[in-house]
């Protein structure tokens, strides 16, 4: 197991190297000067100032030199300095990671704690009105755009009935977390509910379920011991994959709710062409994705004793 983890961690290095190369080239060959974009373009520009800024940010050096500097920094954990915020990118990311992580965790919690039971019950009560109703709900959940759902929730729960604040971080208050987490979590909840339902339906047709029933186990025992455990692999894979993409999709919700996370930092840096920050955010999202996938793979072994890593 330990050797497997080390092997997987080592595989991260070429992946990250490859991605940074592509990312660096794409971000740096984009036409348009970051220095011009940093200033109000409606004002008449000062060409000397533009030159000064480009020098300060190292944009006057050739691309290969810049990449080499970037990689050298990366090797010692230095992600560079933000053009506009004058702060170290690693510090900026450190400030923003917890809000995003909290939001993603809350959304996944909503998705799992509602989605899994919903899908399970739908499958057990397969074909009943309850099944139809929950699946209609699930399809609607997947289809609703997060942005619009966020606005609807704001309108009803903040403007009409003033339960939650409309936006902001509110010093980490749970009241501020609920609306963005719901807006983000509903879609994933629906997806997890549908996946769980399909997995349970599949497992229910297996021979070992018939065997379990024929040896006299109660329905509760069959469901909890055999069905649930066997569906968890598929459900866990879905959760793992979704968690990675969830970090990426916080972009929209963070912007809408003025949530101070990685998503809003990424969007701002892209618009302002703050290249070091954009690179840092993308790198962080990729790392999260890789780590979550590794953790999911390791969890397989815990859930299913047949899986062993060597």
């Amino acid at each position: 197991m330990g050797a497997y983890v080390i092997k997987r961690l080592l595989q991260f290095i070429p992946t990250i190297f490859f991605i940074t190369l592509i990312m660096f080239i794409l971000l740096n060959i984009l036409p348009g000067s970051a220095a011009y974009l940093a200033l109000d373009q409606r004002k008449a520009p000062d060409p000397e100032l533009i030159a000064q800024l480009e020098k300060e940010w190292g944009l006057d050096k050739p691309l290969p030199v810049r990449y080499l500097n970037y990689i050298k920094g990366l090797a010692v954990g230095d992600l560079g300095k933000s053009f506009l915020r004058k702060e170290n990118v690693s510090q900026l990311l450190a400030d923003r990671i917890w809000p995003t992580f909290k939001l993603a965790l809350a959304s996944i919690a909503i998705a799992v704690f509602i989605g899994v039971p919903l899908g399970f019950i739908s499958a057990i009560r397969h074909g009943t009105p309850l099944d139809t109703l929950s699946m209609v709900g699930a399809v609607s959940g997947i289809s609703v755009p997060q942005f619009w759902l966020g606005l609807l929730l704001m309108f009803f729960l903040s403007v009409k009935i003033r339960i939650f604040p409309t936006s902001g971080y509110g010093e980490g208050s749970i009241m501020n977390l609920i609306l963005p987490a719901l807006s983000l979590g509903v879609g994933y909840m629906a997806l997890i509910a549908r996946t769980t339902r399909a997995a349970v339906l599949d497992v229910l047709t297996m021979d070992f379920i018939r065997t379990a029933r024929s040896k006299g186990l109660s329905e509760l025992q069959v469901n909890s011991r055999h069905v649930l455990q066997n569906t968890m692999i598929l459900v866990l894979t879905t959760i793992g994959l979704q968690f990675g993409s969830l970090i990426g999709s916080t972009v929209v919700i963070e912007k809408l709710f003025s949530w101070p996370g990685i998503g809003s930092l990424l969007v701002d840096s892209i618009y302002q062409r703050d290249i070091p920050v954009t690179q840092g955010c993308i790198l962080l999202i990729i790392l999260t994705f890789l780590i979550v996938n590794l953790v999911v793979d390791l969890l397989y072994a815990v859930i299913d004793p047949r899986i062993k890593y060597q």
């Binding site: 348009g32 373009q41 004002k43 506009l84 004058k86």
Partner: protein
């Protein structure tokens, strides 16, 4: 007798009303405003940021030598009791107020002004405010690394300063900018790069807290030099780039004031509860289509004029921009001191446009690519709306959407036929029109590569005269000349609107940029849900 008594009684009531109104000004409370542009606030070190969002917040922490007076629509001395010039703007003697303190408790002196301006020009600072300090004698040498201190700045005593200019200049139009804020050296030195996230200024509010990406909190500065100001105890800026989210917050009464977009403006106007509490102004930004003067058809003035005549600008403003704009006459906006109200905008006259096109030898028209961004008010969306109008005079338009950075690069290189954009057109009309001086390069903002000796002549006369009234006369003429010569399609001036809650008193129509609201004199009455929040 009875009549006299009645008059006396009414006079008494009026004065009583006026008195109670004055008395009604209430101290205390927390005001929640928004920072609505683009994204986050980047830095509160005003010398080192080019982000308007940062100025919105910084304006209430920092102070510059002058400030913008929204009611007079011009800059007025702020940190000085008197700023005198005896030679038409070549030399200024500044007498500073003696009771100004920085938020760290130290009193401000002439040394702080000299330090701040030198810091702006220092190439290591790479300050976005260089353009405003550069007209001071010797400032350009500091920027070029040829000198270490600006020679035109000399301290007479702790509270008196002499400023010598390279050429006669109106100092107020340069040094009212919050980018030229006066800051304490010791704080900059001790904090280094952190100064931008924990600033110290001498404005009415001191910095308290910053949740990056979400909100900034400022607190009343008790030692502010204006007696009894500010009224507010606390000022909160919520970073809210999404118009619809701001609208929700405003309706939920979480925001005390909100900058409106086109869609909300229409809805708010129709709502009797909201429509009464709105302030609007023609901002000093002119939205236009610039013609590349090197593109063959545009070398003929008649073609450029025909373009202006062919477009029903009023209709486009009404239907597409939902009336959230003022029709432009020429380049200078209606809030500019050199604006000529007698000059009429180009009328919508297709026949005249066709005639001009025929006279210029373009009866069959030509193909035209217009580049622009995705801006809702001055982007490709507008170009799509003008296609059918221009088709009538056989100009076949192809819009091309670009990202902001790409657009500016192509404008500087002159690599385009026409572009749509918004350009700063104030507050100093001379600086605004200088963009079109033949000596101004495209890289310095003369994107259309405009060059006309007659236009330059008016600008030169305006520069040389020491008389302010005469200067405005020349600039009005220059603007009228530009109007007739039509290197641009003069589309509109932005109409900026702030909606505020009924308990808010003191939102002003700030023409330089509506969001640059100085909250020194703003107060909240007791109906505010945050009337007693400290």
């Amino acid at each position: 007798m009875k009549k006299n008594l009645l008059i006396l009684l009414s006079l008494f009531l009026i004065s009583l009303f006026a008195y109670t109104n004055a008395w009604a000004v209430r101290e205390g409370g927390s005001f929640v405003f928004c920072a609505p542009y683009g994204g986050d606030v980047f830095s509160l070190d005003m010398h080192r940021t080019g982000n308007t969002q940062d100025y919105i917040v910084g304006l209430n922490i920092h102070r510059s030598l002058y400030k913008w007076d929204a009611s007079q629509n011009k800059p007025v001395p702020e940190l000085a009791t008197e700023i005198k010039t005896t030679d038409g703007g070549q030399t200024y003697i500044v007498t500073l107020r003696k009771n100004i303190k920085f938020h760290n408790g130290r009193g401000m002196t002439a040394d702080d002004i000299i330090y701040s301006y030198n810091r702006i020009m220092n190439p290591k600072t790479a300050s976005s405010a260089t353009a405003y300090v550069k007209p001071i004698k010797g400032a350009a040498d500091v920027q070029a690394g040829k000198a270490t201190a600006i020679s035109g700045l000399s301290k007479i005593d702790d509270y008196t300063l002499k400023i010598e200019m390279e050429n006669p200049t109106e100092l107020g139009y340069l040094l009212y900018k919050i980018e030229t804020a006066i800051i304490p050296k010791e704080e900059v030195v001790s904090k280094g790069e952190r100064f931008g996230s924990a600033p110290v200024g001498c404005g009415p509010f001191k910095f308290s807290k910053w949740v990056k990406g979400s909100e900034i909190v400022l607190e009343k500065f008790d030692d502010y030099y204006e007696e009894g100001r500010p009224y507010l105890d606390k000022l909160v800026y919520k970073i809210m780039p999404e118009g619809s989210a701001r609208d929700m917050s405003f309706r939920a009464k979480e925001l005390d004031a909100n900058l409106l977009g086109g869609a909300q403006y229409q809805v708010y106007q129709k709502d009797p509860e909201l429509s009464g509490n709105m302030v609007e102004v023609a901002e000093m930004y002119t939205r236009l289509v610039g013609f590349n003067m090197n593109y063959k058809p545009f070398t003929d003035k008649r073609v450029r004029q025909a373009f202006n005549y062919a477009l029903n600008s009023e209709l486009i403003i009404k239907k597409l921009l939902k009336n959230k704009a003022f029709r432009a006459t020429s380049f200078l906006p209606s809030t500019s001191p050199a604006f000529n109200p007698k000059l009429a905008p180009y009328e919508y006259n297709v026949e005249k446009a066709k005639k001009l096109m025929a006279e210029a030898g373009y009866a069959d028209g030509f193909d035209l690519e217009i580049i622009g961004t995705n801006s809702q008010s001055y982007g490709v969306r507008v170009i799509e709306a003008i296609i059918p109008f221009l088709k009538k005079i056989n100009i076949r338009v192809k819009p091309q959407q670009l990202e902001g950075g790409m657009l500016s690069q192509r404008l500087i290189k002159g690599d385009y036929q026409a572009f749509i954009w918004s350009l700063e057109s104030g507050p100093d009309p001379l600086v605004a029109l200088n963009r079109f001086d033949s000596k101004t390069l495209p890289s310095a903002g003369n994107y259309v590569a405009y060059s006309n000796p007659e236009f330059d002549k008016y600008l030169d006369l305006a520069r040389k005269t020491g008389n302010q009234t005469q200067k405005l006369v020349y600039l009005t003429k220059a603007d009228a000349f530009l109007h007739a010569d039509a290197p641009l399609w003069f589309f509109n001036y932005n109409k900026a609107i702030i909606a505020y809650q009924p308990w808010v008193h003191g939102i002003k129509p700030v023409a330089i940029e509506m969001m640059l609201q100085d909250f020194t004199n703003l107060w909240l009455d007791e109906t505010s849900p945050r009337a007693n929040v400290k």
